[in-house]
Subunit: 228 residues, 2 copies
DNA sequence: TCACATAAGTTATAATATATAACTTATGTT
DNA sequence: AACATAAGTTATATATTATAACTTATGTGA
């Protein structure tokens, strides 16, 4: 890498870092290229050498957020891979919540409403999205395929028109994954996700005194349902 | 109501209506007072006679959204009040999804990320928030208190530090509501909510071919868990 | 009916935002 | 050393929210 390219990378990183900081203070849409430039000691238009537009910067941040979350989950899964399935999955799901609370802005970028005016470039963001779900699927695969645990009873009478399909990018990670495993994963993920979204946007606090305990408790209940 | 006040109300309604229309096209944050005024054939600053600021307009829209959702749920609950609990609850939960899909902007205003720069005026929005949850609690109360259905088994060994408390405004609607009923309601609501948020933001479609069937199926599973 | 307060609009202006164009300076390579 | 290009600059166009000052329309009380 040339010296110039190195400096360029540093500048790009600083821009993204400041953008994150700005959003942390005023929400995902309080992003001002001008303010970033000013803070870095240069004029506004200079930023356009590094990002084509405000949306391009946002897209970069979204991709990074996806990757960071996926990495956090994968890392936890790897660290507890030799533990029983239930313990491993518990840790991964705890990491999921922990990461969301620690990185509310990144989580909103991934799962919240679209930013004003911002048109998601799905070609860029979609492939990374699958990575988030992959570690959870991997654990479930271990449970139901390697360890041959019985499938939960609620899978028995599913309506036939309910087709589950993995996106192309996800298929690459998990080549031979039974529909049932995917379905269990989806059901679990949605439950988890609902709790976290509500907690993140302060809809849980008026009802539950201790969201952490509630979450832990629901995880256990969920894993009970999954026969884990 | 004087003639002038009537015209004023019409103008206010038109502003709100156009605001909704604008958001429907470009997301919750693509709200331009100027554009609204222009569309109504008047200058930008004229709008400030009707709304103190952009945030005041947003707050009004949020309150209306809460009320509209609560009304939709209540209406459904009333229409199926003489049916068995399970049938009534099913219809209410279907209405919940239907309303969210039919009014994605209003749903985002209530449950999505905060709009850039917008500071929620919780004094105004909080009291109405309770109304959304009320119809569901009412149905559960009927099941477990009037009809004396047994509580689901997952309530048996809850950790003692897990306190459930209703906000003040909600207490007024439901004076004597056992903690257990509230807890069941919360658990169910979160599950439902997770599915709808993910569907609304297009995170469900890459995985599930038929979200409606999936949702229906999950409702049944949920009510099974609730002993309904 | 007329006088007058106020409601409801106007234009002008300030402060910021994204973004483009045209120009200058620094950097690295041939 | 010459030169292409990267990386910055200022100037400008066009939005945005919002305030100030001013004008016109409306409704009411004397």
């Amino acid at each position: 890498m040339t010296r110039r390219a190195k400096f360029r990378q540093i500048t790009i990183d600083e821009i993204k870092s400041l953008a994150r900081l700005q959003m942390a203070e005023g929400g995902t849409a309080s992003l001002s290229l001008n303010a970033i430039a000013k803070h870095m000691g240069m004029s506004g238009p200079a930023l356009y050498r590094y990002f084509e537009s405000r949306d391009a910067l946002i897209t970069a941040l979204i991709v990074e957020a996806y990757e960071a979350l996926a990495n956090a989950l994968e890392e936890t899964a790897a660290r507890f891979a030799d533990q029983p399935v239930r313990d491993c999955l518990r840790q991964v799901l705890l990491t999921y919540r922990r990461w969301a609370l620690d990185h509310p802005i990144d989580f909103q970028l991934i799962f919240g409403n679209p930013i004003p005016g911002y048109q998601a470039e799905e070609k860029i963001t979609a492939p990374t999205a699958g990575k988030v779900f992959a570690p959870i699927l991997k654990i479930l695969q271990r449970a139901y395929q390697q360890e041959n645990r019985p499938y939960p009873s609620f899978l028995e009478n599913l309506p036939p028109q309910l087709q589950v399909h993995l996106s192309h990018s996800m298929r690459e990670f998990q080549p031979s994954l039974p529909e049932k495993v995917v379905y269990i994963g989806i059901v679990g993920w949605y439950h988890i996700h609902g709790m976290i979204m509500l907690e993140l946007f302060n809809h849980i606090q008026p009802l539950i005194s201790d969201p952490a305990t509630f979450y832990s408790n629901e995880i256990e209940r969920l894993m009970d349902q999954m026969n884990l």
